[in-house]
């Protein structure tokens, strides 16, 4: 990854972009502003209430669907003649050893945790959040159906999976993966990420090997914590502890703790320039930094929340002197006279309110500032 400063656009373009910043702050008529404020505030509450109603309705439908599925499952179970004792064990949720998961067509399903409702859709299954699935559960019921025909597992929410060698996988929402056998049964299981992001934790004490692959890269690790993401043919690998080995097209490269690698350009791997050791500091340009202004404002608000009025005012003053024309300037000036008034500093509050009105004659807190001034008169 190249640094932005190295490939930045010519100066005229940056100047042109910074010229867009010079739009003067919006000024509206007080009446119009008040009407718009009331309308949008009502709209915000209304929109959220509507969304909550929709969510509730969806939840109710989901509950009914799950209940219907469960009932259907129980009916099928009870109508099936003479179940074997091992099937009975499975239905009450007693786990069997992982090695027996692929032993029979029913075994894989029956040994899943009791709440791991299997929503099979041919070769697609859903990992339910908050559940731990054993690797045996990830196999097709028929043990020969590993590899290309292995089922695809989809995590719709953050979920966790533990492989038979105690390697733990944490799947982020909207992740798809398969567990396949690499080069035959002896080579062990290999996690193939089809989409999304997976955090892998290979226990350092057991030192279990783990292999993860995407369309473009294969990652081998032993006793490491790392994450692999794969989206739109781009693979990203980030190592938290230990080290991992990247393999592609016959070449390999080792990544150590704190390093990350991203294959965005789809080029042959791994070049040292693609490995980013740490987050590079961004070259700052210009004075207007919304991020910095945000931080200062949040810091002042936290001080206010903790009852540290004078600190909050100091922070606001620092922010206003650093960003006098920033987008949060008006809010900061309003907060300033509010804090001073609450602290009993009537003179300070009066001066601050006057300064606010002078600067924002039709600002959103105009009525409040005028009320404050009238009260002190």
């Amino acid at each position: 990854m190249k640094d932005v400063s190295m490939v930045s656009a010519p100066r005229p373009l940056l100047d042109a972009l910074s010229a867009l910043r010079d739009v003067p702050p919006p000024v509206g008529q007080a009446e119009h502003e008040a009407r718009r404020r009331a309308r949008i505030a009502a709209r915000v509450v209304e929109t959220h209430a509507k969304l909550q109603r929709q969510s509730k309705r969806r939840l109710e439908v989901s509950v009914w669907l799950v209940a219907a599925f469960s009932l259907g499952g129980w009916l099928v179970f009870w109508l099936t003649p003479s179940p074997t004792s091992s099937d009975m064990l499975g239905t009450v949720g007693l786990a069997k050893p992982a090695t027996s998961h692929a032993s029979s067509a029913l075994g894989g399903l029956a040994s899943a945790p009791p709440s791991a409702i299997d929503l099979s859709l041919d070769s697609v299954r859903f990992v339910l959040p908050g559940l731990e699935l054993l690797s045996g559960d990830l196999r097709e019921a028929n043990s020969s159906a590993f590899g290309a025909s292995a089922p695809t597992w989809i995590a719709t929410e953050r979920s966790r999976i533990r492989l038979s060698n105690r390697v733990e996988l944490e799947l982020e929402a909207d992740t798809q993966l398969r567990v396949v056998l690499a080069d035959g049964e002896r080579a062990g299981e290999e996690v193939e990420i089809l989409r999304g992001r997976v955090h892998i934790s290979s226990n350092t004490s057991s030192n279990a090997p783990v292999a993860v692959r995407t369309e473009t890269v294969r990652v081998n690790a032993r006793g490491a914590r790392f994450s692999v993401s794969y989206t739109a043919l781009n693979t990203g690998v980030e190592v938290a502890t230990g080290s991992v080995q990247l393999e592609r097209s016959g070449r390999s490269h080792e990544l150590h703790a704190g390093q990350r690698w991203r294959d965005e350009a789809g080029e042959a791997l791994p070049s040292s320039s693609a490995v980013v050791p740490a987050v590079a500091p961004e070259p700052r340009e210009g004075s207007a930094s919304l991020a910095e202004e945000n931080r200062m404002f949040q810091s002042a608000m936290l001080a206010k929340q903790r009852g540290l009025g004078s600190l909050a005012v100091r922070r606001l003053d620092e922010m206003l002197s650093a960003h006098p024309r920033g987008p949060l300037g008006e809010s900061a000036r309003v907060e300033r006279f509010r804090i001073l008034e609450r602290a009993g500093n009537t003179e300070g509050a009066r001066v601050a309110a006057q300064a606010y009105l002078a600067r924002h004659p039709s600002g959103f807190a105009r009525a409040e500032a005028e009320r404050l001034l009238a009260k002190q008169r």
């Binding site: 990854m1 932005v4 490939v7 930045s8 656009a9 010519p10 005229p12 373009l13 940056l14 100047d15 042109a16 972009l17 910074s18 010229a19 867009l20 910043r21 010079d22 739009v23 003067p24 702050p25 919006p26 718009r36 404020r37 309308r39 949008i40 505030a41 009502a42 709209r43 915000v44 509450v45 929109t47 959220h48 969304l51 909550q52 990350r260 991203r262 965005e264 987050v279 590079a280 961004e282 700052r284 340009e285 210009g286 207007a288 930094s289 919304l290 991020a291 910095e292 945000n294 949040q298 608000m301 936290l302 929340q305 987008p327 949060l328 300037g329 008006e330 809010s331 959103f364 409040e368």
Partner: protein, 205 residues
């Protein structure tokens, strides 16, 4: 609904409403349907939203208030849907939404062949020469049109970083990508924009 809030809602103006000071408090108030939250959210975000729209669009168009309202609705939807994970400031998140809406609006105006009045097009940089000022104004508007025409993700990165002044780290947080990916997106965006405007010249001609 908290009893105190109900009393305040029924007697507006008698007691100043309690300010929700942090983003987390605002989000929590929204979730519990606090009646004051609409105004609190408005006061917190209106400047950022409106300024972002004005910077991108360049003037107060007829749909300006609709754009502002849509931005607020989008903010509420993303908070409710969980897209806003509170890993960045709410103002940054809102400015990102406003930026997208403004770019979409320009694209729509262009598609519908809406002619932009020259005198309202842009705020020209201070210039003694009126011709040069007009030229600069046209170039600014051209820049806005090109931003709207280019790859939306890259355009968003360029506007958020180079116009709104977000840091790279915060840009990455807002877009939900890694810092390296944000850096790459910004770099590619600048290049694409530069390729689209090779004639760009802000010197005195």
């Amino acid at each position: 609904m908290p009893a105190r809030a109900v009393v305040q809602a029924l007697r507006p103006g008698t007691t100043p409403p309690r300010e929700l000071v942090t983003d987390a408090e605002l989000v929590a108030a929204l979730q519990r349907r606090d009646p004051q939250v609409g105004e609190q959210l408005y006061d917190r975000l209106i400047r950022v939203v409106e300024w972002t729209i004005l910077r991108v669009v360049g003037f107060r168009c007829r749909e300006h208030d609709d754009l502002v309202q849509s931005a607020f609705e989008q903010v509420v939807k993303t908070i409710h849907g969980g897209s806003y994970r509170q890993n960045c400031a709410l103002t940054s998140w809102a400015s990102s939404i406003a930026c997208n809406l403004a770019l979409t609006s320009i694209r729509k105006q262009r598609r519908d062949h809406v002619l932009l009045p020259v005198e309202e097009m842009a705020i020209a940089p201070p210039h003694e020469n009126p011709e040069a000022a007009l030229r600069a104004s046209r170039q600014l508007q051209r820049l806005r049109l090109e931003l709207a025409q280019m790859n939306p993700d890259r355009a968003q990165a360029v506007v958020m970083h180079d116009v709104n002044g977000l840091e790279l780290r915060e840009l990455a947080e807002v877009l939900g990508i890694s810092v390296a990916a944000a850096q790459s997106r910004l770099s590619r965006g600048r290049h694409e924009l530069w390729k689209r405007m090779p004639e760009l010249d802000w010197g005195d001609e």
